[in-house]
């Protein structure tokens, strides 16, 4: 039986469905496996790196491997990442921010305190500001809770969203393109009025009320059914891309895709 993590991987792949040629970046095991699955099934135009510097046509399996196992077909080092992938808009990234608000603004910088002395220092803004203003982005949130999906605004805005109060006259925000949020409970998008967050599919056995209760802002119920279960073909590809089973440790207790009746 498929696991919830595998169901999420398939949902990630669906988020990356595209007819274009562009860099697909999934940060973390579930996003990366989802991009690989999309590339090997419905979206061959997707381009991926080995996580270091080279473009590969065969997605590199995650976890321990020989250094030279990856087969470079192209080159995309950090030294030209902004020139080629980010500032040209030819990328779709999926990341896991620490906080997300109703505008799609995210925080990877710091929690609480002040800018001079944060209560909790995190990574820093990394490339989030540029990603957000230049290309498509999605999110994977492994523990759907009001601590991540916060009321009001995030503590620090690392990447821009659809908040009119944060826009300056004359600025070009036209490339802000937030696609999907895949969580352990559901799939959401920004398709509501003024880009409000909607729930579009619920994972098997999850209710909209349960998702709303775990979210710090109001959600729109646009549920069009259950998030699809992985097919046997998809599970086979996922197994090849994750030979060490790292996906089994992403979600606490590795629950099955379908909740048992309780």
């Amino acid at each position: 039986m498929a696991s919830l993590a595998e169901l999420c991987i398939v949902a990630v792949a669906e988020a990356f469905r595209t007819d274009r040629e562009l860099i697909g970046t999934g940060i973390g095991p579930v996003p990366r496996l989802g991009v690989g699955l999309a590339k090997l099934t419905h979206s061959p135009g997707l381009m991926m790196t080995d996580g270091e510097a080279f473009l590969v046509e065969q997605p590199v399996p995650i976890g321990p491997r020989g250094y030279d196992d990856r087969k470079p077909a192209g080159y995309l080092p950090f030294s030209r990442f902004f020139d080629s992938a980010v500032w040209t808009g030819r990328r779709h990234a999926m990341v896991t921010p620490t906080q997300v608000d109703r505008f799609g603004q995210t925080n990877l910088s710091a929690l609480g305190g002040t800018h001079a002395q944060p209560k909790t220092q995190m990574l820093g803004a990394r490339g989030f500001p540029g990603n957000g203003i230049y290309h498509a982005n999605s999110m994977f949130i492994p523990v759907h809770s009001a601590r991540v999906f916060v009321a009001g605004e995030v503590d620090r805005i690392s990447s821009p969203g659809y908040n009119p109060a944060r826009r300056i006259a004359g600025g070009n925000y036209s490339a802000i393109d937030l696609k999907r949020i895949v969580t352990n409970l559901c799939v959401m998008d920004f398709g509501g009025p003024d880009h409000a967050v909607r729930v579009v599919t619920l994972h098997p056995g999850v209710t909209f009320a349960e998702v709303q209760a775990a979210t710090g802002f109001d959600l729109i119920d646009a549920v069009a059914g259950e998030t699809p279960l992985p097919t046997a073909e998809q599970l086979g590809i996922i197994e090849k891309l994750d030979p060490h089973g790292i996906r089994h440790s992403v979600l606490a207790d590795n629950p099955p895709a379908q909740r048992s009746a309780s």
Partner: protein, 294 residues
């Protein structure tokens, strides 16, 4: 005409730096950092530094040792240990000033400095807190579009430090490996750039002419060169050696217990570079560190 002999010791290089300077440090997180030169700074009485870095253990150690007045950064990370523990301690104690940037804005600021421009325009930063917190200004396009853009200020460096595989005495460098990050722009953004290398050769054209395309930046940007075998340790220098995960774990653990840099600095810096290298097993051990996979 000078002899163009740019050879100097690491101590000579650090003696040319002054407290209060703005120093750029090449590399990226736990990758190809000029750690031998950073260790030499940690052995010196330099202080009050403004550090400009895609931060890794260089930033964590300099913060822990109280060398840093201000940090200009987009992230500080050891990759496999995502949050740099000593940097976190400094930030959460309110011990350093910061200018937090996006990774792309950061290299844009280096390029502005290299081209001797006051700023370069970008959309990056719009809609985020970086503009207000960083005191960044905007600029309007003078053309018909009238677009308002962020004016990313030049990140002018008093000095830059980078580590490469090979140098000759005149400052011809070769940086091998799959990625050289923004080392080229650190070199060009600085008044003076000091380069440490795994191998100092008499003349690059005799030693490695076949690798001339690895000449990451021209020798006119190089003030001094020094040989430092294992000079990127504990960070990685593909294809020569990987990062030292055991070292990172000890370093991260020490941030909690004892949590006092003075008590552990000797272990992570060493009284001299020779002593440090010996303490981590010498070049035999460093050269055997597996290259990280991602």
């Amino acid at each position: 005409m000078s002899t163009l002999d740019k050879r100097m010791s690491a101590a000579d290089i650090v003696s040319r730096l002054q407290s209060g300077m703005t120093l750029g440090i090449g590399g990226w997180g736990p990758r190809r950092k000029p750690m031998a030169l950073v260790r030499e700074i940690l052995r010196s009485d330099l202080t009050d530094l403004t550090i400009v870095s895609y931060g890794g253990p260089d930033v964590g150690m300099l913060c822990a040792a109280g060398k840093v007045k201000k940090l200009i950064f987009a992230f500080v990370s050891l990759d496999a240990i995502p949050l740099e523990p000593w940097f976190r301690k400094s930030r959460e104690a309110g011990a350093i000033e910061v200018l937090e940037l996006d990774e792309g804005m950061f290299q844009w600021g280096l390029k502005a400095a290299a081209f001797q421009l006051p700023f370069l325009p970008t959309r990056v930063g719009l809609g985020t807190d970086l503009i207000e917190l960083g005191g960044l200004k905007t600029v309007q396009s003078p053309y018909d579009d009238g677009e308002v853009l962020v004016a990313m200020p030049a990140l002018n460096l008093d000095a830059a430090l980078v580590h490469v595989q090979r140098c000759d005495h005149r400052g011809n460098v070769q940086a091998l490996g799959p990625d050289t990050y923004y080392d080229e722009w650190f070199a060009k953004a600085a008044k003076e750039c000091f380069v440490s290398c795994e191998e100092l050769v008499p003349a690059m054209e005799d030693a490695y002419p076949q690798d001339a395309r690895a000449n990451l930046f021209e020798r006119c940007f190089v003030t001094g060169v020094t040989e430092a075998k294992g000079g990127a340790h504990p960070t990685s220098l593909p294809p020569d050696y990987g990062w030292d995960m055991g070292w990172f774990k000890r370093y991260a653990a020490a941030a909690k217990d004892p949590g006092d840099w003075a008590a552990v600095a000797g272990q992570f810096v060493g009284a001299s570079e020779a002593e440090y290298l010996a303490s981590v097993g010498g070049m035999e051990a460093v050269g055997a560190l597996p290259l990280p996979v991602f």
